[in-house]
Symmetry: C2
Subunit: 336 residues, 2 copies
């Protein structure tokens, strides 16, 4: 491996001078600068960022921890984070917690030992709190993405879950639906709670009763189980519409309905939170509350870098990004 000493020797200067040329610090005569540059070129010198990080106590690496890399919401978010990181001169170390606290903990340990400069953290859920405290103890700045964690004070980029859910459900109500089911994930996650609340808001605003039997909380960590829908469909007065609280649940719902010979939207309307990437382009089908996923990543990363480079003058800041209601063909007027 070629080091600054190699190029110093060849260029007939000291290593320090080479270092100065590399970092553009101190005053160097144009002649030696040029000579050093040339030798670096010839020897194909590449700085060793480990050595540099060790002395500077700064790695220029940020970590992005997401919950599901198969989900277009998170991949779009990752794209936004990655573009911003590149623009701001940071590299991105990437982790996928798979909605699993155990895996998440493993990544946090990696993050600590890598000495990354900061973390973009899309937490698995409320149980992520200890992991965040670990980061705090080690003075690693982080920004929470998409999901809030109770008891944690930190910068965060959140979506309009409650209001977006309310609008989706009011859209269904406007189509004449009165028996609307909510298929939700675990309420261990802030967005699930918020969307549940938005669902209730919509019912209340329209003088519809809240019926617990229409609400399902599913643990879909190892896939969606079609039979989870049975209690809803077996109701004496079954729903005419389903609000799936995220895109993954919507996929499960639609597949399950299909298996049971039920057509969307002919037999039931279905709407969901989050758009579906490629799927929505190929067949613009699902009515959704779409979130600006790219912005979650890009703005989150910018905030993080700001925090790292300019300190925490202002205390935790929260940014709420709007959700957009996109009406497509999976929802339609209720047959009377």
């Amino acid at each position: 491996m070629v080091t600054i000493y190699d190029i110093a020797r060849v260029a007939g200067v000291s290593a320090m001078t080479v270092s100065r040329v590399i970092n553009d610090t101190g005053r160097i005569s144009e002649a030696t600068r040029k000579r050093v540059r040339q030798v670096m070129e010839e020897l194909q010198y590449v700085p060793n960022s480990n050595a540099r990080s060790l002395v500077l106590q700064k790695t220029n690496i940020l970590s992005l921890l997401i919950a599901d890399i198969a989900n277009p919401f998170y991949t779009t978010l990752a794209r936004g984070a990655e573009d911003a990181a590149k623009r701001l001169g940071y590299r991105l170390l990437f982790g996928n917690s798979d909605e699993d606290y155990g895996k998440e903990k493993d990544y946090v340990d990696m993050i600590l030992s890598t000495r990354v400069d900061g973390v973009l953290f899309a937490p698995a859920g409320d149980g992520s709190a200890p992991h965040l405290r670990l980061l705090e103890q080690h003075r690693i700045p982080y920004v929470l993405l998409d999901r809030d964690v109770p008891g944690i004070q930190a910068d965060r980029i959140l979506g309009e879950s409650r209001d977006g859910a309310r609008r989706l459900v009011e859209h269904l109500i406007g189509l004449g639906h009165e028996r609307i089911a909510l298929v939700n994930g675990s309420e261990d996650v802030s967005t699930a709670r918020e969307r549940h609340a938005g669902y209730r808001d919509a019912l209340k605003l329209n003088d519809l009763p809240y019926d617990e039997t229409l609400v399902r909380h599913l643990d879909y960590s190892d896939g969606f189980n079609p039979s989870d829908l049975d209690p809803l469909l077996a109701l004496s007065s079954p729903p005419t519409a389903i609000f799936a609280a995220n895109n993954f649940l919507a996929l499960g719902v639609i597949q399950s309905l299909r298996e049971r010979g039920l057509a969307v939207p002919d037999d039931l309307s279905v709407v969901c939170f989050d758009d579906l990437g490629f799927a929505s382009i190929l067949s613009p089908f699902l009515t959704v509350a779409a979130q600006p996923a790219y912005q979650f990543g890009a703005l989150g990363l910018e905030r993080l870098v700001d925090r790292i480079e300019n300190g925490d003058g202002s205390g935790p800041r929260t940014l709420i990004l709007p959700a957009e209601l996109i009406v497509r063909s999976s929802s339609r007027k209720r047959e009377r």
Copy 2:
């Protein structure tokens, strides 16, 4: 930051002993081991992997460079790579070249200065050759994924592009189609050339003429341009079926046809290479040659780690992963 010296002092031993406890090397008495462990716990010690990398000349970081993070093929591949990396004790540094040689070069520079132990490289195209040579000059092992690069000797995990394409086109021929268009990307990419060849194979095997006017090469680096299809549709004898050489092109083709009021498969059949992730679940529509994307990542990473840890005893090895023809509703019998 707490270092091994801190814990050595508190535990009343030397730093070396602490190091031995951490790495489970050398013989240490159970008593001191226990004491050291406890102090590490109390002080919340986390090893500094930079310092360790510096002396060991090994980072335990691998880099994954993909061409498009929005594409389900690559995200599924990334998932496979990530799972395997975790299993084998490596971290993954992540990069997205966006099919752009300039961005790719930037990432290669980053990779060099990070001193990663190896690279999983899905090249943008033939023009990636200089970047690969750079890796070679710096003795960084890499495995090529999905795309081959002429003149490069390296381990690679490739798909069955030629034969998969042949089967897709023969499927169309079996449905009675004789005027079959190929919508391809730049032939600067090996998979594009292979799929083109497979297309010709199918025609020849079935005694159909190869008609250049039915073949389009599109540069879709800044999105798919609907008017690119016009030359095909304006033909005096237009195609009754289109083979899109990848999933992204298929999206463009289908959107463009839709804009022009043409229905799939009623007016034209469409088939493509690569599956579409969420989209195929939501609406099982496109007939595709699906590749085992997860395996590309997982097997590629395993090969890479094998190379890193066991040297290159055997010379470059190539693994060909099969493509599976999945017939869905976007292709149907030609109307006579």
